[in-house]
Amino acid sequence: MPSDSLSPRSHQTAPADKFVVRGLSFYYGRFQALRGINLAIRERQITALIGPSGCGKTTFLRALNRMNDVIDGARTEGAVLLDSEDIYQPHVDVVALRRRVGMVFQRPNPFPMSVFDNIAFGPRIHGLARGDELDALVERSLRRAALWEEVKDKLRDSALSLSGGQQQRLCIARLLAVDPDVVLMDEPCSALDPISTLRIRAIASN
């Protein structure tokens, strides 16, 4: 992907840069998916990436929380600074990085457990809350994702019984529950109906 096809669109006056991407290139084996990207992403803003399918939007997003590390034969060059620290330095704790930089995927991917356990998963593994505190955190997260009213009586039901749009909002709530610094959303609405899309857009603007 040529670097100029990624155009950040800022809506407000400029606060500090959260991410600074310098000369980022990415290879799947021999195939080069990203070519020398330079880009700054400001904090407390929505930055949207637009481009035709297959142009590298997902690959770029996944480079920002090192989800690409999982892929066999993948190679990254260049630097990605998060709060002016390069996340590709060898000493960086990838697990801690991903806690700060969360991701919502293209397709909803709830865990095969109850609605409550889905949201509580992150707080539990990070020891953020337990007991009543955890209940409150789950409710708050679901409210932020505009899902509380629809699932408050189904917290013990399987998350897989929800509709696609609800599942995607569940995934957003699950992410918000660990309170990440940055939320990466990879076309979270591409598999959803227009109404769910509107709701998710509203969540993003908050």
């Binding site: 929380n65 989800m67 999982v70 066999d72 697990v95 801690a96 991903r98 806690r99 700060r100 969360g102 991701m103 995927f105 397709r107 991917n109 709830p110 865990f111 095969p112 457990m113 998963f121 992150g122 593994i125 990070h126 897989l160 995934c171 699950r174 992410l175 660990v178």
Partner: protein, 291 residues
């Protein structure tokens, strides 16, 4: 006017299609039924021969000496359960954890070697495993024992449990792993809290099928657990088991022993049927879990 050549044309397409459809339907149905016939006969025959010899004493009494009427296989039934328990203690942890290794880290040469060994091991005749455990456990201990029987059966479980666990863990969609990783979960947490959870129905099925398979094994027990006519729950002593008891009774010249052998066979088949049914029950929701 139809052409004079009409009769030389191939059958109209629709007729040909219906004919082929009918033939294939009949052929596949017949073959499927043929596969079921032996099972049906087997179940019927075992039930017909075994039921008359089944009574309460069969489940509660020890084997009676030759010539005395009555007696049961209580010790063999309990023995088989103990042997299955011992085998599971060895086979399940090794099998399931091995399966996790193969699915998560098995892309290297070591993984390939383990996979190949497991496939070879599952093809090793069970009597060979019996001889191996005889040399490994029985000879150093100077006696046959329940422990040796459990080791033999446990070894037989490992490849089945390992490969089914691996396959089912692999079936868990990448998107689920990524969801957990993107929340800042470590790799072990992702595997144990999310991936295993998603694969649990399949893993349980593999375990139950492996148990069903070893429950009826006779050959590896002949020179490990050996068999016993007495009550024994001690692990360092020979122990009775249903398959060996059935074997001993069936080749005996005494009619009431032979009748009891049928009853034992019926109990064994019933145990295996129940385990298989439980395996199906555990899998019933799987297609929904693993999208």
């Amino acid at each position: 006017m139809t052409s004079p050549l009409a009769r030389y044309r191939p059958l109209p397409r629709r007729t040909r299609r219906l004919l082929a459809n009918g033939l294939m339907w009949a052929g596949t149905t017949l073959c499927a039924a043929a596969a079921l016939v032996p099972l049906g006969f087997l179940l019927y025959y075992v039930a017909a021969q075994g039921l008359p010899a089944i009574n309460l004493a069969f489940f509660t009494h020890l084997p009676a000496p030759v010539g005395e009427p009555g007696g049961g296989m209580a010790n063999a039934i309990v023995g088989t359960l103990i042997l299955i328990g011992l085998a599971s203690l060895l086979g399940l942890p090794v099998g399931i954890l091995g399966g996790i290794y193969l699915a998560e880290f098995g892309g290297n040469r070591l993984g390939g070697a383990i996979r190949f060994s497991a496939d070879v091991l599952s093809g090793v005749p069970s009597i060979v495993i019996g001889i191996f455990v005889y040399a490994l456990v029985v000879v150093p201990m100077h006696r046959f024992s329940a422990l040796a029987g459990g080791v033999a059966l446990g070894i037989m479980m490992i490849p089945t449990v390992m490969r089914t666990s691996e396959e089912l863990i692999r079936l868990v969609p990448t998107s689920l792993r990524e969801a957990a990783l993107a929340l800042g979960a470590t790799h072990p947490r992702t595997v144990f809290k999310v991936v295993l959870l998603a694969a649990r129905a399949g893993v349980i099925t593999g375990v139950l099928l492996a148990i069903a398979r070893i429950a009826g094994e006779t050959a590896p027990l002949l020179f490990t657990a050996f068999g016993s006519g007495l009550w024994s729950t001690q692990l360092d002593q020979p122990i009775a088991s249903l398959p060996v008891q059935v074997f001993t009774y069936a080749i005996s010249p005494y009619q009431d022993w032979q009748a009891q052998a049928w009853a034992g066979a019926l109990v064994l088949v019933t145990i295996v049927l129940i385990l298989s049914a439980a395996a199906r029950y555990a899998t019933r929701g799987r297609m929904r879990t693993v999208i």
